[in-house]
């Protein structure tokens, strides 16, 4: 199956920066900003909510990259 629908080239450098930023947010020192049991929001301790929140941002970001490359 050829990739006929692809509209734009993969912005490799931008993607690499995006991936590294998300990675750094999960690691210390940046994870230190989220590393606290309190407050408990939406049933999750803040230290877990931080991880889940950035995973959500990562998901949205990946969709944005895909839509940029394939249009729509």
């Amino acid at each position: 199956m050829p990739d006929i629908e692809k509209k734009r080239k993969t912005p490799e450098k931008v993607y690499a920066v995006f991936a590294i930023v998300i990675l750094l947010l999960m690691m210390f020192p940046l994870y230190g900003l989220g590393n606290s049991a309190q407050p408990i929001i939406m049933g999750l301790p803040f230290s877990l909510l931080w991880v889940v929140f950035w995973i959500g941002v990562e998901f949205a970001g990946l969709i944005a990259f895909f839509r940029y490359e394939y249009g729509r």
Partner: protein
């Protein structure tokens, strides 16, 4: 009818269904085609690909180990979410590049790519041997998980060796006959089943043992200060250990040859959509961690011989003893272990055939190669089964070391793709030194490293330095094949 017989019948029913599906998947496909066996003729669709890659995460480790980590190590378990969400990120760039190169230059395995780029038999054979040893270790864990589940859910009526033989024997047969397609289609069934089981059990426990997740975490935070944090007083993991464990997973995740070779099973668009789905798989794991957290402060650690027993303990003591429930949970847990075991068994057979045997005897025809791979499934399966049930103390260290060494492939693989200056001498020297350093810290030093850095990262630092330095020393030679590789 005794409850355990109902559970056994349900698990048996599931096994038959998984077996039939796995066998059907390969029907009508060419039995003697390496391309079909190894990479499904480069034509796997999106949904199948999702489950194939997702099934790898939902392994026996996620089902038994995830709750165990949450129960015994608290916030350290968040690392599982982070690495699941991040592990596949590099594949967004590597995968499509590999798919294109693989189709143009006929690759089936990671070793094929390395052999073509570096023109080195030795490198490929080293990679192949380390991979096969690591795969055996990985398989041993899954087989132990299956045997354990069978034994618990049938109230000790099915001994370990029978449970493992039944559940893993089926995997071996459908992988040997149907190749990657067998693994992929049974993963669709297994994936669906384990999602349902993990979520229902996790939420049920949180709402029966506590008044919902908020109340549960508030209680844990009050009783065990630091338990839900990293590196504070009362925490179970230091900040560097946590951070470098995530880092090593992100660098190393796609270096697992069975994941890497999936680049050759699909096109660019499918690969990218698979990467996009991975963060969701991490979110799916949250209720699995809830299972472990729900037991904190409720089940005393003295009630268990090992934290890994927390899920079975909760099921047998807190869910009410009905055979129906045991059967469903048992089937879900078997599905988790099998969906990883099939992909790994398949990957190990391709690594063995393409990366160990073929470079040493390149005059083998396609038919012989494919038979070697299919028989390797049985042989590797038998070895792993033997080790899982009877063990072998002397080998355990070697296997553990290999398991930890997969990440050391990263410099030579990334170098092959993005650095024209990468040379085989550098790749081999870096790999050998990296594996050696990892072995030293992981096994000889028992994981004690400077600043609590992950042993894999220590190996990687040495690996990269040697790889770059030695490659730079070997630049004078003209490397026409390198130019050809990078033109593709």
């Amino acid at each position: 009818m005794a409850e355990w017989i109902i559970a056994l019948l349900m698990m048996g029913g599931y096994l038959v269904f998984a077996f039939v599906l796995g066998m059907m998947a390969g029907k009508g496909r060419s039995f003697f085609s390496i391309s079909e066996y190894a990479v499904a003729d480069r034509g796997l669709g999106l949904v199948v690909m999702w489950f194939l890659m997702g099934g790898t995460i939902f392994s026996a480790f996620a089902f038994l180990g995830g709750p165990a980590w949450a129960y015994s190590k608290g916030a350290a378990a968040f690392y599982i979410l982070a690495y699941t969400a991040l592990g596949l990120l590099p594949w967004y760039l590597i995968g499509p590049r590999m798919a294109k190169l693989g189709a143009a230059r006929g690759y089936f395995s990671m070793g094929d790519m390395l052999r073509d780029r570096y023109q080195s038999k030795a490198l490929v054979v080293i990679v192949g041997i380390v991979s096969v040893l690591a795969f055996i270790q990985y398989l041993t864990l899954q087989i132990k998980g299956m045997a354990y589940i069978f034994n618990i859910m049938t109230a000790d009526h099915i001994p370990f060796w029978v449970g493992a033989l039944l559940s893993y024997g089926i995997v071996v047969i459908y992988v040997a006959t149907s190749g990657v397609r067998g693994a992929a289609w049974s993963d669709v069934l297994q994936g669906a089943l384990m999602f349902v089981v993990a979520w229902s059990v996790g939420l049920y426990l949180v709402f029966t043992l506590h008044d919902g997740p908020g109340a549960m975490f508030a209680q844990i935070a009050a009783d065990r200060p630091g338990f839900l944090e990293i590196g504070h007083e009362g925490s179970k993991m230091s900040q560097t250990a946590y951070s470098t464990a995530i880092l090593v997973s992100v660098v190393g995740f796609i270096m697992w040859p069975h994941l890497f070779m999936k680049s050759y099973t699909a096109n660019e668009k499918t690969i990218k959509l698979t990467v996009i789905a991975y963060p969701l798989f991490a979110i799916f794991l949250v209720p699995v961690l809830f299972i472990g957290f729900s037991a904190v402060g409720v089940i005393p650690p003295t009630a268990l011989t090992t934290p890994d027993g927390i899920l079975p303990y909760l099921i047998t003591n807190n869910l009410g003893a009905t055979g129906l429930l045991y059967g469903i949970i048992g089937a879900g847990a078997l599905a988790a272990a099998q969906s990883s075991a099939d992909a790994i068994t398949h990957g190990a057979s391709v690594s063995f055939g393409r990366d160990v045997v073929y470079p040493l005897k390149p005059d083998l025809g396609d038919r012989v190669q494919i038979l070697i791979m299919r028989w390797a499934v049985v042989a590797i399966g038998a070895v792993s089964y033997y080790l899982a049930i009877w063990g072998a103390a002397g080998l355990v260290q070697l296997l553990l070391g290999a398991y930890g060494s997969i990440v050391q492939f990263a410099p030579c693989v990334y170098g092959a793709i993005w650095w024209r200056g990468a040379r085989k001498e550098g790749a081999i020297a870096g790999l050998v030194v990296g594996v050696g350093v990892n072995f030293w810290y992981q096994l000889v030093q028992k994981g004690v490293t400077p600043f609590d850095i992950n042993p894999g990262i220590m190996g990687l630092i040495a690996n990269v330095i040697i790889f770059v330095a030695v490659s730079l020393m070997c630049q004078s030679r003209d490397e026409e094949h390198v130019r050809a590789f990078h033109r593709t």
